[in-house]
């Protein structure tokens, strides 16, 4: 069973959570402790996006031109996973919002289109960004092609070499894709001079994309996660899902999503959080974020001050951290080992409003395999984490006899992740666990350096 909405029902406003947070979000500061000035950011971000980043407005109008592009695939369907329910013999009702049908195959175009639009409106001609395996890069390449902008994508070199298919997709949309580190920027050249074999990393690609934007006229930079404006663009997901559930006279007891930087899950649950805060929720809905045990930022990390660099010169930031010297192992759900995390999500988790659970990749792929066999759709390894949590909840319902309504986000398809599935079928996946002891030690070191940390 699936629920479609008409084109007219594409939301007209995005929801912004900032005015409804239980406490004010700390302000980003520079190395001297001064609050970030919007004009500093204007060098790389469109003015309207910076305005949205710090906006206290609860509802932000979606430009008609953006809705027009959204129409190519939105509203996305809401499915009831009947066959999965039957397979699990659970009294729970499982619904999923299906973002895989976007041109790029994931939720990412929801913000890429908005970002490209505002930049185009402000006279920008070219956008730069970084991409790992290519999810975000392809979303931006698509969005730029819609508004006649050029796109320059810095793709982590090792992915550029090993995962050519998303690169080809980006190039079909007209983007220029460079393996990073590249010869395009002084940053890249400097690294190649010192280390010609450098396989690249998201950090280096980010630096190159920013430098490219800063040093060229009419060029701006875009980011696909963690920033508030990115998260709020994603709320079209949750707003539509709410409407679709209304049609069925349903309201979720539990909302589940995977978290890397936190944008897809925020897009799903924020509108329901709005209901909760404003006394409009029909039920006491719970929010469950799912992450990999290999990079368990919320479940095992500590909400404390962390400093961004080994030289300890960055002003301390309050967020969930596994300690700054932690490097997550190479799991297949690349999107979930993102080193950034949305500050809003950290804050809500610290208040107990968002709960978190972690699973290892073997159990996650087991869950994905059940899903493929029952529902037919192939999930990307990232949302397969959410599927695992949903299956566990549904099985719990079988024991208790509860008929919970569970809503989760299938944020992207796994058609470009065949290597991961192949490794799974060949039994080559390692069930990485991040030892709590390591986090404890890392935090102890932090505390010994900053005795005032609680």
């Amino acid at each position: 069973m699936k629920i479609f909405l008409s084109d007219e029902e594409i939301p007209k406003m995005w929801y912004n959570i900032l005015p409804d947070l239980p406490e004010k979000l700390p302000v980003p500061r520079d190395r001297d402790g001064n609050p970030a000035k919007p004009e500093d950011l204007e060098v790389v971000f469109a003015k309207e996006l910076i305005r949205q980043e710090f906006s206290e407005e609860r509802w932000i109008r979606i430009p008609e031109e953006v809705r027009e592009i959204y129409r190519l695939w939105r509203p996305t369907p809401l499915f009831r996973a009947r066959r999965l329910e039957n397979y699990l013999r659970t009294p729970a009702k499982i619904y999923y919002k299906f973002e895989s049908i976007s041109p790029a195959g994931s939720h990412k175009p929801n913000t890429a289109v908005a970002q490209a639009y505002y930049n185009m409106k402000e006279g920008v001609e070219r956008l730069t960004t970084e991409t790992g395996a290519g999810q975000w890069g392809s979303a931006l390449a698509f969005a730029c092609s819609m508004f006649g902008l050029e796109a320059t994508i810095y793709m982590v070199k090792v992915s550029y070499m090993q995962k050519p298919f998303r690169r080809i997709l980006m190039e079909l949309w007209g983007a220029k894709v460079f393996p990073s580190p590249s010869e395009n920027t002084s940053f890249g050249r400097e690294i190649l001079k010192k280390d010609p074999e450098n396989p690249g990393s998201l950090g280096i690609a980010i630096s190159e994309a920013i430098e490219d934007a800063v040093t060229h006229e009419n060029t701006k930079y875009t980011l696909g996660s963690v920033l508030n404006h990115v998260l709020l663009h994603q709320t079209v997901i949750g707003l539509e899902a709410k409407k679709q559930l209304e049609v069925l006279d349903e309201y979720p007891d539990l909302i589940v999503g995977c978290i890397g930087g936190g944008s897809s899950f925020s897009g799903l649950f924020w509108p329901f959080y709005y209901d909760k805060v404003h006394g409009k929720a029909e039920k006491d809905v719970e929010f469950l974020a799912v992450e990999p045990t290999a990079c368990p930022t919320i479940t095992k990390g500590v909400y404390t001050y962390d400093h961004g660099d080994t030289a300890r010169l960055t002003p301390l930031l309050r967020m969930h951290t596994l300690g700054h010297d932690f490097v997550p192992p190479p799991i297949h759900a690349g999107g979930l080992r993102y080193h950034g995390m949305a500050p809003t999500l950290c804050l809500l988790a610290n208040h107990g409003i968002v709960k978190a659970k972690a699973y290892n990749q073997v159990e996650v792929f087991d869950a994905a395999s059940i899903f493929v066999k029952t529902e037919g759709h192939l999930p990307a390894p990232e949302p397969a984490h959410a599927i695992k949590a949903v299956i566990d909840e549904a099985l719990k319902c079988r024991e208790t006899g509860e008929s919970k309504t569970i809503l989760f986000l299938l944020c992207g398809h796994g058609h470009f992740d065949m290597k991961a599935y192949q490794d799974y079928l060949d039994g080559k996946l390692i069930p990485y666990e991040y030892p709590e002891e390591e986090v404890r030690k890392s935090i102890e070191r932090l505390k010994s350096m900053y005795p005032w940390i609680s």
């Binding site: 950011l41 690294i191 001079k193 280390d195 950090g203 800063v214 963690v226 930087g261 995390m341």
Partner: protein, 391 residues
């Protein structure tokens, strides 16, 4: 660090990167690390020399090792390591064969600190560590357990340390599998892609060696790791040793010469023959007699000359999987080149094998002879296993 200075005309980029740090995105750090990575290098030039001549360590036995014909091992391994290292890093080291010569040979322009005499001692290692710990991001030492101990005493967990294996005894969990792998790990460290783990520094009590293996935990070093590319601490193996001994006796040929490598497993086998073997030494058995106890490389070569066909019996080091190149350097590449592969008998309990993904060798140009599939004798008979030299 001065990122702002580096960016020069590019202050704006720097501001944006600082802003992104608020969201947990640390782009500067990687570049910064690569830009200024300072690697400290400490070579213990005499490490490993005692190995081929049957000494269990070279500390305080340098003269003896020389007299027995030992040749330096560590400088060669240090150069091998340095040649695979990212050229952009700065090397800080101590004079002459403690790192300076090796770094120059590998094409670096090292910053040389301190002074040393003609012959290096444990004190020099400690002095070098003391000087380097204040300057560098990571210390790489080339040596064995003794060197690891000296460095651990001074450095503790102040900065990360990793070892290039070059000693006779390497029970500590702080060594990379070989020099090339060590360079790979250091390169990834420079790129910000390793995590740090506190790893054990172990040392065998040399005075007790021939009676009972007494391996003590000496302390911890903070070691950069990429999954299983740093050797784990040696695991004391258990398992069905009796069954293995019985299976060995079934194929034992009294009229052959057997060269038994070190370890508890071979010790028990030889004991079943009614003989008392050394625990950490190589012993040679023929016609029910122990013809050479604690043999050196030259003894083994002599026996091969004399008897032609001999069988070498070795057991993998628990948890690490090394069958040659660790703890039995007497069975040198020269020895291995003169033995037929089918005359190497690897014995192990299935328990010990279960803890390993492959068997490993690290014996220079003899590696290629050994690589590939082998049959390992266990308590359940022969099982197939892979030997790898390239990690």
């Amino acid at each position: 660090m001065d990122i702002l200075k580096f960016f020069g005309a590019n202050m704006k980029t720097s501001k944006i990167l600082e802003f992104l740090r608020f969201y947990g995105i640390n782009a500067i750090e990687e570049y910064e690390r690569l830009k200024t990575a300072k690697i400290g290098l400490i070579v213990n030039p005499i490490a490993g020399m005692g190995g081929r001549v049957g000494l269990k360590g070279t500390d305080n036995k340098y003269e003896l090792a020389l007299k027995l014909g030992a040749k330096p091992v560590a400088p060669r391994r240090a150069v091998e390591f340095l040649k695979c290292l990212i050229k952009g890093v700065e090397i800080y080291t101590y004079p002459k064969y403690m790192g300076e010569y090796e770094a120059i040979e590998a094409g670096f322009k090292p910053n040389v600190l301190g002074e040393i005499g003609d012959r290096t001692t444990a004190e020099d290692t400690k002095k070098a560590a003391r000087d380097l710990v204040k300057i560098v991001d990571l210390i790489v030492f080339v040596g064995g357990d003794g060197t690891a101990r000296d460095i651990c005493e001074v450095v503790g967990d102040k900065i990360p340390v990793i070892g290039v294996p070059a000693g006779v005894k390497m029970y500590s969990a702080v060594f990379a599998l070989n020099p090339r792998v060590c360079a790979k790990i250091v390169n990834e460290f420079v790129r910000g892609k390793t995590s740090l783990e506190l790893r054990e520094v172990m040392d065998a009590d040399e005075s007790l060696i021939n009676k009972k293996i007494s391996i003590k935990l000496f302390g911890y070093l903070k070691v950069p790791v990429i999954s299983n590319l740093v050797q784990r601490v040696k695991r004391m193996s258990s398992g069905n040793l009796d069954g293995l001994v019985i299976n060995f006796l079934r194929i034992y040929d009294k009229n052959r010469v057997y060269v038994f490598g070190p370890g508890g497993t071979t010790y028990q086998i030889v004991k079943a023959l009614g003989l008392e073997k050394t625990l950490l030494g190589v012993d040679i058995v023929y016609e029910g007699r122990l013809i050479v106890k604690d043999a050196k490389e030259s003894d083994i070569l002599k026996v091969i000359d004399e008897y032609g066909d001999v069988t070498i019996v070795v057991t993998p080091i628990g948890g690490q999987g090394f069958v040659f190149g660790r703890g039995n350097l007497q069975i040198s590449p020269e020895v291995l080149k003169r033995i037929k592969k089918e005359n190497i008998l690897i014995v192990s309990t299935t328990d010990k094998l279960n803890g390993l993904d492959c068997l490993r060798v690290d014996v220079d140009d003899a590696n290629e002879i050994l690589e590939g599939e082998v049959k390992v004798l266990t308590e359940v008979g022969f099982v197939k296993f892979k030997i790898k030299a390239d990690f």
